[in-house]
């Protein structure tokens, strides 16, 4: 249909506006200050571990810890037959006292894990566009590309945190070091039965190998995309190669992302299991990646870059944020509904503590991640309004942070924790680093993939109805 006027595709070079640089630095510094306040004000007496609440052995004289007592009470109230009946003999490990610094490490774990799955999902976004032959997104392609360069940074921070604090964060690591013999008081049948999967060797080897592969494919895709820029007009060789690499990445990511999630997050509640957990974490990363891509596009647009990107592209990103928030809610409900309905003690323990002891966060999680985007972004005009998108997007990112916090913290500490200066500080610090990193990555390449076979299609993009 010929009645579209020609749009000229011009390369743009991004330079970081000083305001943006200041913003990233302010976020990071604010995070550091909050962390500092957190470290100064935190109660430095050792915190009781949560895992003992799973155990049936006596409390070994640690009743004085309020948190432990609290968790004990919870189980007394709610699930009398709870743990003991089903699992038979499941003695506890030696009760551990977590040093106060564990709070710093869990805070960093949450923040770096979040940014890790987000940047990974940004790479997956590019991959999906290639596989699906999507045209509309060609104009904004450099944004997810820049975000994806953060994968190794986030992963290295995540690994560093785990190396330092794995003993305090991961109950099963602690157990592994006990070398409890069968029949001894410390022996835990369940954990012993999982040692073929949950052991320190695999814990490091598997994710490192896998993430290295992902990062290499990501770099390859970025390189192909850059080569395409300087190639002859109409050269599709690089595009076709990218499709191949994308398919490879999709397979690796699809089949094995869950395993990484099982190691890093699900194994915090080492007795618990849920088959949908990997999908759930994917949903978190995916919605967040779409949101962050959208926010970066809005920012670049407001600075006068990305001339061929119009409201139509923003509208489409808004649609994605809306749709995949519903997808997130679907996965959330699937997991919660089934566990709640069947009410099997070994599964229920996970939601018992999160629902009973963390109710405000539990509710905030659904509100920020589902009701907010659902109600705010439902109308067409909202999805085309950059201000509304920015506010909704920020709320959604906060919601995702709470979501991950809620997955991690009750498993490490048991009941009675709150989001404090440390968590917020660590999150903001890393977000500041992330923003700065992505801005720098954006300057490294031209902002417009000028030779992308679909770039003109993207420039003429119209969402239609």
């Amino acid at each position: 249909m010929g009645h579209g006027h020609q749009i000229e595709i011009v390369q743009e070079q991004f330079t970081i506006p000083s305001k943006a640089k200041t913003f990233a630095i302010i976020v990071g510094v604010l995070g550091l200050i909050l962390s500092g306040i957190g470290m100064a004000t935190i109660d430095k007496t050792p915190v009781a571990g949560a895992h003992e609440s799973h155990a049936q052995t006596e409390m070994k004289g640690h009743e004085e810890h309020a948190t432990a007592a609290g968790s004990h009470e919870m189980h007394a109230n709610s699930g009398e037959t709870h743990v003991e009946g089903n699992f038979g003999h499941r003695a506890s490990y030696e009760k551990q006292n977590k040093p106060w610094t564990t709070r710093i490490w869990t805070s960093l774990l949450i923040a770096s894990y979040y940014l890790f799955i987000v940047s990974l999902a940004a790479l997956f976004f590019i991959v999906v566009q290639y596989i699906a032959n999507a045209g509309w997104s060609a104009a904004i392609k450099r944004v997810p590309e820049a975000i994806a360069t953060f994968i190794p940074v986030a992963f290295i921070i995540l690994l560093a945190v785990i190396v330092v604090a794995k003993n305090d964060i991961y109950h099963w690591v602690h157990y592994e070091h006990l070398h409890a013999a069968k029949g001894s008081a410390e022996y835990d049948t369940i954990l012993a039965g999982k040692s073929w999967f949950l052991n320190s060797t695999m814990f490091f080897a598997f994710p490192i190998v896998l993430v290295t592969l992902w990062v290499l494919i990501g770099r390859k895709l970025r390189k192909l995309s850059i080569q395409e820029d300087s190639a002859e007009k109409g050269e599709t060789k690089f595009h076709k190669k990218s499709i191949r690499w994308s398919a490879g990445f999709a397979v690796l990511y699809g089949f094995l992302f869950s395993v990484v999630v099982w190691y890093f997050v699900m194994s915090i509640d080492a007795h618990w299991y849920s088959t949908i957990f990997g999908v759930y974490n994917f949903a978190i990363g995916w919605v967040s990646a779409l949101t962050i891509i959208c926010l970066f596009v809005i920012f670049l647009k407001s600075q006068g870059f990305l001339k061929i990107v119009s409201d139509e592209h923003v509208h489409d990103l808004g649609k994605f944020m809306f749709a995949f928030s519903i997808f997130w809610a679907y996965i959330w409900v699937s997991q919660y509904l089934l566990i709640w309905y069947a009410h099997i003690p070994e599964e229920m323990a996970y939601y018992q503590i999160r629902y009973e002891e963390y109710k405000p966060y539990f509710i905030a999680n659904i509100t920020l991640n589902f009701f907010t985007p659902f109600l705010v972004l439902m109308m067409r005009n909202a999805k085309r309004n950059k201000m509304v998108l920015t506010i909704a997007g920020s709320l959604m990112i906060t919601g995702k942070f709470i979501d991950i916090w809620l997955m991690v913290i009750p498993g490490v500490y048991g009941p009675g924790m709150n989001i404090g200066f440390l968590e917020a500080g660590a999150f903001l610090t890393l977000v500041g680093v992330f923003i700065y990193w992505v801005l720098v990555a954006l300057t490294k390449r031209g902002l417009v993939p000028v030779n992308h076979p679909f770039i003109e299609e993207s420039a003429h993009h119209d969402v239609g109805v």
């Binding site: 249909m1 010929g2 009645h3 579209g4 699992f87 699906a132 032959n133 045209g135 509309w136 049948t189 369940i190 039965g193 999982k194 999967f197 109409g234 599709t236 595009h239 398919a247 397979v251 699809g254 089949f255 869950s258 099982w262 007795h271 299991y273 849920s274 088959t275 949908i276 957990f277 990997g278 999908v279 749709a323 519903i326 679907y330 996965i331 699937s334 997991q335 509904l337 089934l338 566990i339 309905y341 069947a342 099997i344 070994e346 076979p453 679909f454 003109e456 299609e457 420039a459 003429h460 119209d462 239609g464 109805v465």
Partner: protein, 449 residues
Amino acid sequence: MIYDSIIREQLVTGGKTAADVTRDISRPILNKPSMAWKVGFTFAVIFLGIFGLSLFWTLWTGIGVWNINKSVMWGWDITNFVFWVGIGHAGTLISAILLLFRQKWRMSINRSAEAMTIFAVICAAMFPVFHMGRVWVGYWALPLPNAFGSLWVNFNSPLLWDVFAISTYFSVSLLFWYIGLIPDIATIRDKVKGKYEKFWYRFFSMGWTGGTRTWARYELISLILAGLSTPLVLSVHTIVSTDFATSIVPGWHTTIFPPYFVAGAIFSGFGMVATLLVVARKVMNYENYITIGHLDAMCKIIMLTGSLVGIAYLTEFFIAQYSGVEYEQYAFKNRAFGPYWWAYWSMMFCNLVSPQVFWFKWARTTPWFIFIMSIVVNVGMWFERFVIIVTSLHRDYLPSSWVMYSGSLTEVGLFLGTFGIFFTCFFLFAKFLPVINMAEIKSIIRNRE
């Protein structure tokens, strides 16, 4: 403004004009039925007869003629139900999700896929309805005041959710299909000659003339209906999966069931669409409308969803071993290495392994091979439901309740008979309604001049 990159393949080949589209696609409706149609229709009616006989026998003697027993209380019956509901998902998926994702290749196949949805849901509904035994009190499943006491239906029961989900899905799919059909019925209305034909096509075309405002509303309602149908499709198969997953039967109670069933449904639905369209494009001479490019895209989706289902198989097997729950561990070991190992490995082969052949371009572009593969996919998805249902039930917690199960002749007859229902409806549809959405095809043929 639609602007297509030059590297995109042409969706409709053969340089068709709008008039050509009308002529080609309304030909089977305006002409006398072809020999192929008559033969096919006869076969379909024969199978319909098998359904009638089996159903008569079931109602006459009672559910006892089925081989289901106290351990395997759900056998072929529910297997077939889930099988057909699964097939019933591709239609709305193609229309709705692919519309939302602006995949224009869907325009050649969405009409027949939606029709398939509706017929498959009818087939599916037969099984739970007649499994009730006393089917004449089937209305008890609805939230109506009870004539024999004060009880209402149980809102906590996934079976009741099914009643709501399937009936909503059927109604909304029918509505979606019908709204899409109105402009095409109007086209046929202005072509047919016979008096009765004129009357009926005029009746169903609702006075459509193709004004711009009406088209604008039509496009908007299609988009919103697509937006509604997408979560609807997901919810329906999710609810079907909760029939199993809310229980505490090992092998059934696993949280990945909802998305895994949805992926399986899309997979089997596309399998069935491929089966039908590979034949239809040949017999009805629609090679220019349902091109190799379309088959290629469908094969890619089959491969994708097959892999998703495969991920779910591997995940549930892995987590069962990881869980530390001996019942879960046993249930899965029993699936793979127990007496029904052949069903498990057929499922694994047909659904996870065999679609990987579509990594090769040759496999995606060779119609006869796609046809064979689509049958393999359908068989595999039937086995998947059989594996889930029978292997989880046949060995209870109590070894004294361990039994083996195989379908009786009546159960097999009912299953084969539903193919009769399905194909009878499909042949009638192909005779009286345009199999391809003419209006939408006309809007894309001129994209690149």
